[in-house]
């Protein structure tokens, strides 16, 4: 079994906000060298990894996880070396104040988002600040900050990866790199088991802000797509009446929606039940909010299913997942690809 913690650390330690996925190029090259025959960056920015088939006749199966993470972008350098910024993807200003950030300028710099201490606050303390009122403190002079941090510089949460109890981990960028880890672990298992079909890993670009994944899929023309993304885990605040109760530790969540392929999805659910793979099923009527919305419609269409890993505190620097869920997802995906690989093309 792949070292899931090590892979997670490699994939989340750098900055890869939407459109700047190359910030993690060392991790991408590591994955290529260890598991694949080739890697390429396609024009819209996705990274495609291919392990060639050892024997012809297997269907072409693509596993997709998005490589980008939410973050920020500098819009102005102010007196005193403070930075104004905007969000890239969905951010919650409640958790931004006093957050540690990393600024990917001409040099990689550290910063802290300013917050007004309670001692100095006047008026209504419960009012949330708009993102355009928040600033990053760089500790630099304005001149130095302007030199090192051009407008448009990407900013990410500071990397921190902590082990919690029960094989849970806490950090940033698990959305969606934890699913990339699961996919790589699944592929490693397949390789170790002597799987002979082609394996395609798509670490897609800009999921948090666009549907740029479609460009890579158009060229790849896979027979099947398995999309993996994180889903919001149940937490006590959701209440006992919440419709979705999948939580961290429940294993992968298989999505039944009007967009993903019903027959393909039911086949996976049947396979999981028959072979006792840990899983839950979730019903998402018309939208999954993931790349699984767009991939089915590319070209002549791609049968697509969505397998999600439950995650707490989404889009924060303290996302929490269980490595057991990651391992269970990898096992389910590997088992299912082996089952699909048994069918012949044409």
């Amino acid at each position: 079994m792949a070292d899931l913690f090590d892979l997670t650390s490699r994939l989340t330690c750098g900055g890869s906000i939407s459109g700047y996925e190359h910030g993690q190029i060392e991790a991408l090259e590591y994955i290529r060298d260890k598991y694949f025959d080739e890697m390429r960056r396609e024009p819209a920015g996705s990274y495609v990894f291919i392990r060639h088939a050892k024997k012809p006749g297997h269907p072409r199966i693509m596993f997709d996880a998005h490589m980008d993470e939410v973050g920020m972008m500098v819009t102005e350098v102010l007196e005193g070396g403070f930075l104004r910024f905007t969000n890239v993807g969905g951010l919650d200003t409640r958790i931004l104040q006093a957050a540690d950030v990393t600024i990917y300028g001409k040099e990689t710099l550290y910063g802290v988002i300013v917050s007004t201490p309670p001692h100095l606050q006047t008026g209504d303390r419960m009012v949330l600040p708009g993102i355009d009122t928040l600033m990053i403190d760089t500790g630099l002079s304005k001149e130095k900050a302007e030199e090192l941090i051009p407008i448009g510089t990407p900013v990410g949460y500071r990397f921190k990866l902590t082990k919690l109890k029960n094989n849970c981990i806490c950090g940033k960028g698990f959305d969606d790199k934890i699913c990339a880890v699961a996919g790589i672990a699944a592929f490693e298992q397949l390789i170790n088991d002597g799987y002979e079909g082609e394996l395609i890993l798509l670490l897609s670009t800009k999921e948090e802000v666009s549907r740029a994944v479609v460009a890579a899929v158009y060229e790849l023309k896979p027979d099947y797509a398995i999309v993996s993304d994180v889903c919001c885990a149940w937490v006590p605040e959701c209440g006992k009446e919440a419709k979705r109760k999948t939580t961290v530790g429940d294993g992968p969540e298989i999505s039944l929606s009007a967009i993903t392929d019903v027959r393909f999805t039911k086949r996976l659910i049947g396979f999981a039940k028959k072979n006792n793979f840990k899983h839950t099923v979730c019903v998402e009527a018309t939208s999954t909010g993931t790349n699984a919305n767009d991939i089915p419609l590319v070209g002549l269409g791609v049968p697509t299913l969505l397998v999600s890993i439950p995650l707490k505190n989404m889009h924060t620097y303290s996302e929490v997942v269980s490595l057991d869920d990651v391992a269970d997802t990898a096992a389910l995906v590997a088992g299912f690809i082996k089952e699909l690989g048994g069918e012949r093309n044409g």
Partner: protein, 332 residues
């Protein structure tokens, strides 16, 4: 020079009704390209072939459509109700002259005593100066389109006010660039796209036809140097060509962004960085159609976008032309 721009601005082209402006742009660009054609949607696609053995395809794209209104109901008293086409700013549109495709003029007004806070499309009507439905129907029919009147007036310095600078100014940048790009190494495609204002629809089809390696949109971007603009609009009028890093629809290709900046620095072309927190451009469709392309955008700063009185600075426009030409001549 300014007269060429005025010619392009004077011809109406509301989204999906770009035939006349398309024909004019075809006529203007024809002497400077090898081929020009119009696709089924109405996009004008011109190409200047490159001299390289295996030329790359650079697609420049500016949209020729403009926002407007479509008649959806005519009242018994001759007042005309309209539905919007694209992002109409009703506060700015109130009490403004409109012109229909057939030349009929009217004034778009809110119902009396409507607080500007409550301006919604349903509260507006067009006064054609007629008294009955019959008289109104002699002038316009349901489905007819109109737009705010086109104007172009000089202000101080190199600034001009009028409409629709969005995005005829981009079309103008492309035509001026075409005059200067004489022997490109790469194939340069000039695309005047349709229906950008209603969701970048034309450029989807055009990008599929062209399949560019590199896509550069030329469009307008809101200028932050107006009172009360807030703190997140970094572009300034007169600050030079704006190199887009992002808007709501796209994260531009980071390498293309840094290449454009290097070119601007090297050629001493005034430039500024653009990080837009809203809005969309044809950049997004060029980036993601078919197998995708490396896409970016050169923006002309504009104050009061989508109003009767947009303001641009011709020095910025010059910088955009220079940067567009230099980008097409560079090896990107």
């Amino acid at each position: 020079m300014i007269n060429d721009l005025k010619t392009i601005m004077r011809i109406q082209g509301i989204s999906s009704r770009e035939g006349k402006i398309g024909a004019k742009l075809t006529e203007i660009i024809k002497p400077y390209v090898d081929e020009v054609s119009t696709d089924p949607l109405g996009n004008v696609i011109a190409v200047k072939r490159g001299s390289a053995k295996e030329p790359k395809k650079i697609m420049l794209c500016a949209h020729m459509d403009e926002i407007g209104f479509v008649v959806n109901y005519i009242q018994d008293n001759g007042l005309v109700r309209v539905s919007r086409v694209g992002g109409i700013n009703y506060v700015a549109a109130a009490f403004t002259r409109v012109v229909f495709e057939n030349g009929v003029k009217g004034v778009i007004v809110p119902e009396g005593k409507t607080d500007p806070k409550d301006y919604t499309p349903e509260k507006f009507y067009i006064d054609l100066g007629v008294k009955t439905k019959r008289d109104a129907e002699r002038k316009v029919k349901i489905g007819d389109a109109c737009a705010l009147e086109s104007t172009c007036v000089k202000l101080g310095g190199q600034k001009y006010t009028g409409r629709p600078f969005d995005d005829r100014i981009g079309c103008y940048v492309l035509t001026e660039a075409a005059k200067q790009i004489k022997n490109p190494e790469n194939d340069v495609y000039y695309v005047f796209s349709v229906q950008e204002e209603v969701g970048c629809r034309g450029s989807y089809a055009a990008s599929f036809t062209v399949r560019p390696d590199i896509g550069i949109a030329v469009d307008v971007t809101p200028s932050g140097d107006v009172v009360g603009a807030g703190t997140n609009l970094c572009v300034k009028l007169g600050g030079g060509a704006a190199v887009k890093v992002k808007d709501s629809s796209v994260m531009c290709d980071h390498k293309l962004v840094s290449d454009l900046v290097s070119i601007a620095k090297e050629k001493d072309i005034p430039y500024q960085m653009e990080v837009l927190t809203y809005g969309g451009t044809d950049t997004c469709s060029m980036q993601t159609v078919a197998g995708g392309s490396r896409a970016g955008c050169i923006s002309v700063p504009v104050r009061f976008c989508h109003t009767q009185n947009e303001i641009i600075d011709m020095d910025d426009v010059d910088a955009c032309v220079k940067l567009t030409v230099a980008a097409c001549e560079a090896v990107l």
